[in-house]
Symmetry: C2
């Protein structure tokens, strides 16, 4: 009941706010300007070129932190902050694998993020091959004793990335499940939609109380070769993984603001993550997310008058192995009620095709306005509500902050992500600009409105459900 | 004049031979059967799976030799021969490269085939970057003293592979030209049409009297990264290459026949090469060429009555670093006048789009018949004559043997060739079958005819011009 009353007053605010013709016109002007603006390209190029790969805890990540703060200042952001937090780091060493029977052949692998190392001499063992994660889980405990488990489950290519959650369980839970059954190591077919031998890393279960084993991802052709060979007879593989862990390392969330002109304490948090995996240069994951949101806020900041609310860009410091979201929430707990909306760009740089608004906002005049402004960019406003705006804003979402999802077409994204092929040449400048246009016009409309998205949320609507 | 008389009698033979309606019907039946036949797929799968990578001089190549002879026998070929010849071999060792300034970053490289090794500790030096091969050649002698030369010239994607010859000069001649100018090592952008970091190997100049330097190919994104970084300041790279050479090794040309029913001493030589690079499994280069030509001959051999002439499939033993062609010519010198035609399939497994016939054959009724039989496969008969049917038949061509070119669409081929991504999953079974259908019907028409292609050749027509 309380919620309903709030909702009604919010709708009033919304009508009086966004129906304002000048706002729509400004949003459209920003949108069209963004399509021709090269800030995002320059930011993505600069980050990937001058910093390169930047895994948490690396010297490159420390350089990236300085780069981020300097970039925000150079682009006109104010209140630039570098917020340090404790973060354990993991550093990859030398890795190799080879088939040793029925004949010797090198295998292209990459250790999963946070995998334990093998003994220095490696592990050589017979292979137990499973075509799906479910097949492995169906194996009795103890049945893989002394073996290297291999899971060859492929990933479905889908515009919305749905296949990542399905296939990704081999990476997330496979090592622990294989360990339970006695396996000495696990190899998974890369969680990838490509046909390439370039293997995909990504974080796997780790930490106190987790019993796991050395684990790596195999190139797609190698996984298929093993499947064919396994039909003909037993296989043996030798695997070497090395790595070091520093439990006392640090990471940083970096932020800067376009200060609101009328309600500067009401804040919209947008951003991408600054860290990347140690392979590739983290172009799609997530230099472009940083670039898109930074460019969008910068364009809005160049208006003769800033919108009412503050827009804060956060360059998140440790998305790939977690912790940035929790650290931010801990540092900004008191501010949470004033964070009116959050969003993250972390699905590459291909075009946005759909927008999910916070629960309760879909059928409002605000949604109609947004739909009209985004329509020329070929973006629809979805009937269903945002469920998770990105890993780094999960903490905020769980604390009650409404979020948006500007869904990118990830048909190509999972060909490259978490690989050495995540490089600048996979970024299409025209699609990148379409992203900036969408963020710029949408965030402007939010920032210059008085809408209380929390108040529109229907009773019982849940916050934050992890997408991937 | 002598040639003209011969040509006239050949046209007569052709009219009386190929205009035979039964031959056309048989060719069409074979063509349509081939489209549904899985022999080629099975051969390509078996070779890539049970043998894997098979560089000349490796234990895998010795297994491939036995595999080839056994496969021909199993498929009904007769007169199966394994012809050994002397062939120096080169074996890759550990290789690595990294940018050391302005910041440390691993570079994905692969040593060029037959490159000399670096000292065990590697070479670290400043970079001299050239955007094209021509830029490097324009540098004065001595100007690269103590430097690592880098050539970043890209390759044009073209259906006919024309870009390979243009860009490939960096690989073929770059090391020698860089050495002349004092460079201590050379890195080239992969001779590749992909956007992938997977680097492309391939043979470079080597042997007695060649002064060269350690040379490797860089992934495409790495080459582009170096170009961008070079604009900002000096670069340094560390390169390690290891390899061993065995000058006293051997290779083998393997052959089997579908014996002619009327003129068994007249021979048509077709085939692909059995060797591959040591990265990938040599699926497109050239398991599929072996598979296509073997399957075509096998299908013809299953006819109730063999065609008049003998069809000989040769699995060539050392295409990648040369020597198979010369060895075959030396061993078969006396037989050359009876080899009526030669052809090689060595451009992957994508569809054939054009046929080039031997010079003088283009405007004959035979060409018309062939054009009609191949038209449903979407293959045209080109106005221009075959210039080079493949590296392994160059020796035969230079000795006067007419050749054909069944030109494959190589739009995708140079994304993968000479890389670890040359694997079975790049083979499209439908396009593979179209290849078999073309070879089967064309070779049947040749084998059951009496045409003397040599006699049709106009005076002054040149043999063998290297395509790539």
């Amino acid at each position: 009941m309380y919620r309903r009353l709030l909702a009604a007053s919010a709708v009033f605010a919304l009508l009086s706010g966004v129906a304002h013709a000048q706002d729509v016109k400004t949003a459209e002007t920003l949108r069209d300007k963004a399509l021709l603006d090269r800030t995002a390209w320059d930011v993505a190029e600069d980050l990937t070129t001058t910093i390169g790969p930047r895994i948490v805890g690396s010297p490159a990540m420390a350089r990236a932190k300085d780069w981020g703060a300097a970039k925000l200042k150079a682009l006109g952001f104010t209140n630039v902050k570098v917020e340090q937090y404790a973060k354990s780091s993991w550093t990859r060493g030398e890795e190799s694998a080879e088939l040793t029977a029925p004949y010797p052949m090198k295998l292209t692998i990459v250790g999963l993020g946070r995998t334990p190392a093998t003994p220095p001499e490696g592990i050589e063992a017979e292979v137990a091959l499973f075509h799906t994660y479910a097949e492995l889980v169906a194996a009795p405990e103890g049945s893989l004793k002394g073996k290297i488990a291999v899971i060859t489950q492929p990933m479905v290519k889908a515009q919305d990335g749905y296949g990542y959650g399905v296939a990704g369980i081999s990476r997330r839970a496979g090592p622990v499940e294989a360990a339970k059954r006695g396996a000495v190591a696990l190899l998974i077919r890369s969680v990838s939609t490509s046909d390439s031998t370039v293997p995909h890393t990504g974080v796997t279960a780790f930490g106190d109380g987790v019993t796991t084993i050395p684990s790596a991802a195999l190139g797609v052709p190698e996984a298929e070769q093993l499947e064919r060979l396994a039909k003909k007879g037993p296989l043996r593989i030798r695997l070497k993984l090395a790595s070091t862990v520093n439990p006392n390392n640090v990471a940083w969330n970096i932020s800067g603001e376009i200060k609101g002109s009328e309600k500067p304490d009401e804040v919209i948090v947008i951003g991408g993550h600054l860290d990347s995996w140690d392979v590739g240069t983290g172009a799609l994951d997530d230099a472009t997310g940083v670039a898109i949101t930074t460019a969008a806020a910068k364009l809005i900041g160049e208006l003769p008058k800033h919108p009412k609310r503050t827009i804060r860009v956060v360059m998140w410091g440790s998305e790939e192995s977690g912790g940035a979201s929790e650290a931010y929430l801990a540092a900004h707990k008191d501010e949470v009620p004033k964070i009116v909306l959050a969003g993250e760009s972390d699905e590459g740089a291909d075009r946005i095709y759909g927008l999910k608004l916070p629960a309760g906002t879909q059928k409002t005049p605000f949604a109609t306005t947004v739909a009209n402004v985004l329509a020329p960019l070929k973006i629809y406003v979805a009937r269903d509500a945002a469920e998770n705006g990105g890993s780094d804003i999960e903490g905020l979402e769980e604390a009650g902050v409404p979020s948006i999802e500007l869904r990118q077409d990830v048909t190509r994204y999972f060909d490259y992500h978490h690989t050495m092929d995540d490089t600048l040449n996979k970024v299409d400048p025209a699609q990148l600009a379409q992203n900036v246009a969408a963020w710029t016009s949408l965030i402007y409309l939010v920032a210059d409105s008085d809408i209380d998205f929390r108040a529109l949320r229907p009773a019982g609507a849940e916050a934050g459900k992890r997408r991937y």
